[in-house]
């Protein structure tokens, strides 16, 4: 699908530029004429929404950095200074803080869409892997960003999470000290996290470019999972999908704005309005909600396995949960991509989704009583889905007959 350029330079200047740096040709090929399956549903708009989220975070973040002071004595007050005294600061700060949560909402929806419609299957494995890398980097960026306001939950969240590194045998303690810049979370930690929090979004943006590049080789997957056969199956990206994506972005901005203007603190934690204090430990330390599913998996391993103690076991489980995502293209080898045509898969996918929400919920609960048991069950389901359900289903499941092409499928829908 590489030969779809209809660009002919109109003027001598355009011709001159096209011979030297064909940016206009590139934009026309990839942002306008790119043939896109015409049956994409609204779940497919979250890619564009995520680009918007990244843009919003970078723009608001750059402005916030102009007024923020990364010093343990000044950071907390400088955030309040932004909220109180900087022109438009309270909106910019709220957009950035709420924006992190909205980013993850869109990110999780985008990933679950990929998991349901089999978007990770050949020839799109690299797109998927790059996406998982973006997810991991975004988690790291968000985690470091949460330290910056230097509230109680910032400090203690960093303390708990950075302890993960110390579980690594032999070099763990050294890695932890390198990450923190000392033996405990302190001013060096705040400084390096601020620096990295500013750097990583640009790394993410670069990987997003690769993600889209890789996407533009085979083109989009689509809700029926049948490859594009000919021009009747597609429409040009512009204006059809630019318009649809823009509409979805505006729609997404409505709940976004609701939180920013009417409930800016509802997604935050009251404890983070108390300045960090290494002498006072909050009763329950809870990471941000988007880390909770993985936090639950980390905590679920509270028993030793042979020579692996529970702490290292938890870290391995949490890392394993991410590795599952990276290797999913080779776990699910079924030829049929879309969950729509997989009657058994559908149910397991629903279970997996509910299980993921349950993992999120359990991460916020104290590790006691029934929650401990549930966390173990949910963790087991998470891994069973990848390691047993997907490989087995892709071998034994009887799938429904696929439409021969996208255009046949949409015409069938129209005539039904």
């Amino acid at each position: 699908m590489s030969e779809h350029s209809t660009y002919t330079p109109g003027t001598a200047v355009e011709k001159w530029l096209d011979d030297r740096l064909p940016v206009v040709r590139f934009a026309k090929e990839h942002l306008m004429d790119f043939p896109t399956p015409k049956n994409l549903n609204y779940w497919w708009t979250f890619g564009a929404i995520l680009v918007m989220c990244l843009g919003v975070q970078i723009v608001t973040g750059v402005i916030l950095a102009m007024h923020y002071t990364p010093n343990v004595g000044l950071a907390f007050d400088s955030v309040e200074h932004i909220r109180r005294d900087v022109n438009g600061g309270r909106i910019i700060q709220a957009v950035h803080a709420v924006g992190a949560s909205m980013f993850f909402v869109a990110l999780y929806i985008h990933m679950f869409r990929g998991l349901f419609y089999g978007s990770y299957k050949a020839p799109r494995e690299i797109i998927w892997i790059l996406g998982v890398l973006i997810f991991i980097l975004t988690v790291a960026t968000a985690f470091m960003g949460y330290i910056l306001p230097w509230g109680q939950m910032s400090f203690w969240g960093a303390t708990v999470i950075s302890n993960i590194f110390s579980a690594i045998p032999l070099i763990g303690e050294n890695i932890k000290q390198l990450v923190l810049g000392g033996f405990a979370v302190g001013n060096p930690t705040l400084n390096r996290f601020f620096s990295l929090h500013y750097l990583l979004p640009f790394v993410i943006a670069a990987i997003v470019a690769l993600h889209i590049w890789a996407l533009h080789v085979p083109g989009n997957n689509n809700p029926i999972g049948v490859e594009v056969k000919d021009g009747r199956d597609t429409v040009p990206f512009h204006p059809y999908y630019t318009m649809k994506d823009l509409f979805a972005m505006v729609l997404f901005m409505i709940p976004f704005a609701w939180f920013v203007f009417f409930a800016p603190d509802i997604l935050g934690h009251p404890d983070n309005y108390i300045m960090a204090n290494s002498q006072v430990t909050p009763a329950h330390i809870v990471p941000e909600w988007y880390l909770l599913p993985f936090y639950t998996i980390l905590r679920a391993i509270d028993f030793n396995i042979l020579f692996i103690d529970s702490k290292l076991g938890g870290v391995i489980a949490m890392g394993g949960a991410l590795v599952m995502l990276l290797i999913v293209p080779w776990l699910d080898t079924g030829k049929v991509r879309s969950g729509t045509f997989r009657p058994v898969f559908k149910w397991f996918f629903a279970l997996f989704t509910i299980n993921f929400v349950a993992l999120t919920y359990l991460g916020a609960q104290p590790a006691e009583g029934i929650y401990v048991v549930l966390a173990k069950v949910c963790t087991a389901i998470y891994f069973l889905y990848f390691l047993v359900v997907l490989p087995v289903l892709s071998r034994i499941e009887v799938t429904k007959p696929l439409p021969t092409s996208i255009s046949e499928s949409v015409l069938g829908k129209a005539n039904a």
Binding site: F247, F261, F262, Y273, I274, A283, T353, I354, Y361, V410
Partner: protein, 290 residues
Amino acid sequence: MTGAIDMFKSKIIIAAFAALAGLASVPAIAAEAGPRPERQPWSFAGIFGTYDTNQLQRGFQVFREVCASCHGAHLISFRNLAEPGGPSFSEEQVKALAAEYQIADPTAEGGLRPGIPADRWPSPFANEQEARAAMNGALPPDLSVMAKARGVSDPFPTWVFNYFTAYQEGGVDYLHALLTGYRDEVPATAPEGFELLEGQYYNEYFPGHAIGMAPPLADGSVTYTPGEDGVTVPETLEQYATDVSAFMMWMAEPHLVSRKQTGFVVLLFLIVFAGLMYGTKRKLWKGIEH
């Protein structure tokens, strides 16, 4: 700092995810530490809520005459008291008020000078050590953002509804409950069998119940001036607690009113714009089977 507060955010956040992802239903969890503070009919609650200027002025009086003798509020400047959306004192009143305070300033002769509106609210103690020495070892926390630094835990499904009602008054509800949560017979206030150390008081709502702050308010302890229209408000503990809690909400969120005003414009624009976008999108896609 209670477990209940910790859970508050997380529960809420899961609700956002669940609601937005179209998935819901999570079981309720038990709240810890003390009864849930009763919800008060705050004038600033809900999406249409605004501050009551008179209440903020009364609250400021309580804060100044009672709270400020032990607590600081270092994020507040005198000038904030004259800004729109707050207690809205006049510039002259604020100037006169600031001048009543002596501000530490190494460049001034003798190290002290009268305050000006640009000065921050002066702290009652020079540092933590001095405060603890004076306060029987306890440290009176800064009150600048106190109304947002406390929260409450709601059982399911209330916390889901909180998203749609934009309920963010858990902190002030708690402050009001705390200020009115002392037992009557001071100092023998604790229930039988509850050990209180010297200088501690029993409070229904304080996590652990043993609080270092003596009951700060009592009926008649602050004298309110009647309004220009001759309207008086009761000089009761209940009224003081409500007024000063409202004032603390203003200190924590001084731009609440303008924030909501902007929000209405933004949301209205987005909804209309989304409608227009949808119309355009439909027109564009008309005739394309998809």
